[in-house]
Symmetry: C2
Subunit: 205 residues, 2 copies
DNA sequence: GTTGACCCGTCTACGACTTCACGGTTTGGA
DNA sequence: TCCAAACCGTGAAGTCGTAGACGGGTCAAC
């Protein structure tokens, strides 16, 4: 048992737990009551580990392994949905933190990736503002959800994301909700030119 | 009490829990033993909620509120670290799932954002392969950690990420570890030109 | 026979709550 | 004045997947 656990990078207690909840029960016991895992059991454990790498819950995994009608694709799709939601939540937390940590710093002195910095890099590579605009528009047109995700990845505040997406043509902004404030320019028409500062590795994305 | 909970979007049980663990104890009780929250308590709760939005644990929050020496910036930095690690884990799970869900589909029929699709969008906007190459190089040079994060955001497999980063000049690849396989072309020198397919909203990032 | 190195089952702990059960208090309307 | 609904209190147990501790049994080699 210890050998099996070690082989799959699990602890003894994990295997005990799997046994207890019926996800993986050894097919036999020794005379003294020791768990005996057959090669079939090991194969089952291998599947369990693969599914757990995808973040599936042990409940779902049990269904997948025991119920012939269970649909792996559907389970993965459901998990993907939850995963996206969770990433979104974490990113929101990240934005909260960054907005505090960045307070009082200019984007140039910030050790974090900002939209401004991202745009600087594009500038450096010779991508023009017009190209960036067109890119946002194409992104919004053909993959609006991913566009949103990408803007969230840059840790932009919600209001800025909303503004960029509207301005990229995803949905026409109603005249009433004109730009509520003059926030930092959207990443496609940004601030300074190529930075003079020497490249230095940044600690945090 | 119910009113306070509702005002801050919490449940009654959450406030009970906060009281129990000493994060927020009401400053008084009514004759019948009902909790009485003063405006000071409410202000404290407001801070608690803000910190929780950043994902700080209640333990840490209690220290922050009660110990004068506690350092908010440090707590947030620590949390940011954990957050990044967690996002990395979730993204790894996502890659596992996508690699399964995408199996047997061509990138064109996949409803998910792929690196190929991302590059298509850049192509559409008129960003050349040379520009993309230069962009990767600049990204790697001046913000390698963020470059890594960005490539992970695209859910590329680790091997591809490694290859792109080496090829972008971040670190010279040792001759021994030449490309182990001919995997899909890196996003900066990708496949098809602008797609003929009509834009359609994609369900998932 | 003894000494380690294994193994067993059971229990507790983690975080941030929620749910349940049972009972007291307040409040509004008839 | 009475009743019911809505509120409040306490306490216990459950969630999820594991880690670790405890006390004791088993096994191999020496």
């Amino acid at each position: 048992m210890g050998a099996l656990a070690a082989r799959y990078g699990l602890s003894r207690s994990a295997l005990l737990y799997y046994d207890r909840i019926g996800v993986l029960s050894p097919s036999g016991r020794s005379a003294a009551g020791y768990r005996r895992y057959s090669p079939t059991d090991a194969a089952r454990l291998a599947r369990i580990c693969r599914y757990r790498q995808a973040g599936l819950s042990l409940d779902v995994i049990r269904d997948l392994l025991d119920r012939p009608a269970a649909d792996l694709t559907e389970a993965l799709a459901t998990r993907l949905e939850a995963l996206n939601e969770q990433v979104r939540l974490l990113r929101r937390q990240k934005r909260h933190i960054l907005s505090y940590l960045r307070a009082g710093r200019t984007p140039e002195t910030s050790p974090f990736l900002t939209a401004e910095r991202f745009v600087e890099l594009l500038e450096l590579a010779g991508v023009s503002a017009a190209q960036r605009t067109e890119w946002h528009a194409a992104f919004e047109r053909s993959a609006s959800a991913e566009h949103q995700a990408f803007l969230e990845f840059l840790c932009l505040p919600d209001s800025t994301i909303e503004r960029i997406r509207q301005w990229a043509g995803g949905r026409a902004a109603t005249p009433e909700e004109a730009p509520p404030a003059p926030p930092p320019a959207p990443p496609a028409a940004p601030g300074p030119a190529a930075p003079r500062t020497p490249p230095r590795p940044a600690p945090e994305p």
